[in-house]
Symmetry: C2
Subunit: 349 residues, 2 copies
């Protein structure tokens, strides 16, 4: 059992983050935020895939003002991602957002920081401090420190600015492309703060490489009890980010989310086209909501036993398959009927 780090709870709109609350999966839109229709459409699709919190970049005032319209069209909390310009933060708060991602140290004037924090506090809108290894401040006091130490020092500086203004609805992230750097940074900051943590690996690449790097990095942190909300960053459709986020949580038995496919890698013993059958079953399962476990095994002798955790499964030999439930054989099916029979049985579950 994973012993989860103790953290405070903040509320991003209706979604609590931290404490013993479920570790949530979030994503970020890739549409032009000023295009309300396209952005709402993307968020609606992400909601269908289970996305629990969404973030939009706010590069200018038109984007900040569009947030009100976006907020109306969606049903999950909306976070505004803002850099440098405090006026965008104020406008985003006026638009009714549920969270801010903003590094107060990057806003030059203290009274501007104070204005943002005052409005966020009035509306109980949390602020995430998001430190990125690639854009650390070049302050002299940081020289001589390792990159993870510099990331933590930068975060602590931003946190102090908020705490000095008596603001504690804080969430923190410390992301790098380098996985060991990211892990080290989070391991260091948990000794200093009890704010909830947003965890991810940044610029991790396209679908396959990005999923693997993110799974390694986020997986290690979660297994060490670190992380209250996660985002997988991929150079790909954000649906893939949500999919990967839940698969990481599912792999550590932290969350349930839709079906899981247990399928054997096949080998020189396999006599049926298991790769093709598994792909078909996977596509069918994409439309199933329940957290069932389905197995596709290439070996009629060992398959049912090896996949006895599965609620239902098929194990194939030459031309025919065994249908099994919880490791027990139910019936024999001809290969031609196996997909349809399995789908029917899954619907009956």
């Amino acid at each position: 059992m994973i012993k989860r780090r103790k953290s405070r709870v903040i509320n991003i709109g209706t979604v609590p983050v931290g404490g013993k609350n479920p570790i949530t999966v979030q994503s970020m839109t890739k549409t032009d935020t000023r295009d309300i229709k396209a952005t709402v459409r993307q968020i609606t699709e992400l909601q269908e895939y289970g996305c629990e919190i969404i973030r939009c970049a706010v590069p200018d005032m038109e984007a900040a003002e569009a947030l009100a319209g976006i907020k109306k069209g969606i049903s999950i909390p909306l976070i505004a991602d803002i850099h440098f310009d405090y006026r965008l933060a104020l406008a985003a708060l006026d638009a009714g957002i549920d969270g801010l991602r903003l590094n107060p140290g990057n806003i030059s004037e203290p009274d501007r920081v104070a204005a943002v924090v005052k409005k966020a506090k009035e509306r109980s809108v949390p602020i995430r401090i998001g430190v990125n290894a690639g854009s650390l401040p070049k302050e002299e006091k940081l020289t001589g420190l390792s990159i993870p130490e510099r990331m933590v020092a930068a975060a602590m500086g931003h946190i102090k600015l908020l705490e000095d203004l008596d603001f504690d609805l804080i969430k923190v992230s410390l992301k790098a492309f380098d996985v060991p750097t990211t892990i080290d940074a989070y391991e260091k900051i948990v000794k200093k703060i009890d704010y909830p943590l947003h965890v991810g690996i940044t610029e991790s690449g396209t679908t396959r490489q990005g999923m693997i790097r993110s799974a390694v990095g986020i997986g290690i942190l979660l297994n060490n009890g670190i992380g209250d909300t996660i985002r997988v960053s991929l150079t790909a459709n954000p649906i893939e980010e949500v999919y990967a986020g839940f698969e990481i949580l599912k792999s550590l038995n932290i969350r349930e989310h839709g079906p899981t496919l247990i399928s054997c890698p096949t080998c020189g013993r396999t006599e049926a086209n298991i790769v093709e059958i598994a792909d078909k079953v996977e596509r069918f399962l994409a439309r199933v909501d329940k957290p069932i476990r389905v197995a596709v095994m290439g070996c009629a002798v060992n398959g049912p036993g090896e996949a006895k955790d599965a609620d239902i499964g098929i194990a194939g030999g030459k031309g025919k398959f065994i249908l099994f439930k919880k490791g027990e054989k139910v019936k024999t099916i001809a290969e031609a009927d196996v997909i349809n029979e399995l789908m029917r049985e899954i619907k009956d579950l």
Copy 2:
């Protein structure tokens, strides 16, 4: 820095496994082992992708005898995967294989086990004991134990059979579909033995789910210093297994292997089609051998800084890109030329 567990060294043909030797990436053929030509073709392709050890299933005597022909056609060590039948193991050893995967406890007669072990010892061929959570012995002495405890007990039983015959060229694996079960089993056995460990997650599914589950499970173990050779099991082309294996090792800076793509997830600030460009660059990099780092960033202002670890990169705005090296701007390129220019620069590196 990861503190790697101390393990003995065994040699799978020319490839040392354990100790301070590189953590190797292996795969398994999915062709019919009796089809020498198809199997050699698949292994040759896997070698090109970097596969370092290959395993073939040996379901019958014809397959065992085919191993000699397969061995002749390939240049990486060959492991025979055998269940129950000691005659197949003897024939595989006669065929000149470099390693056996065989659980001696599943061979019923002690003199049969002795015959296999004698021949393996004469030829210095190591044996991997591969315990799978789905096919544990149903012995009464194991009742009351947790699944990881039963996996470890089963492995220790197999190990004792080999040690009693004065055989110590042993490698061990303890695989389950359930990631926490797998991790727990390995964490338990490292307290008992110093044999090298083969690490993987079994029946982990099709490409995406399987890569994620494997990356989480193998990544956590490697980060804890456990694992001397790895296999990612996917219901997919085995090339994907080799790719994923190296990406897991690369993500933890354990191995270098070919290029790495640093690419931003894009957001509402992005003004160029970064997903398409990153995909094109990734396809080009698939044919590059060197461990270079290439970045594709959607933001001309922060991109070069955020990707300063990259040997070379592009960061795009509207219609034009900046080419940068190690975070420093080199020149500006029109969007239409960006792929060709980047490819030319990569070739020059």
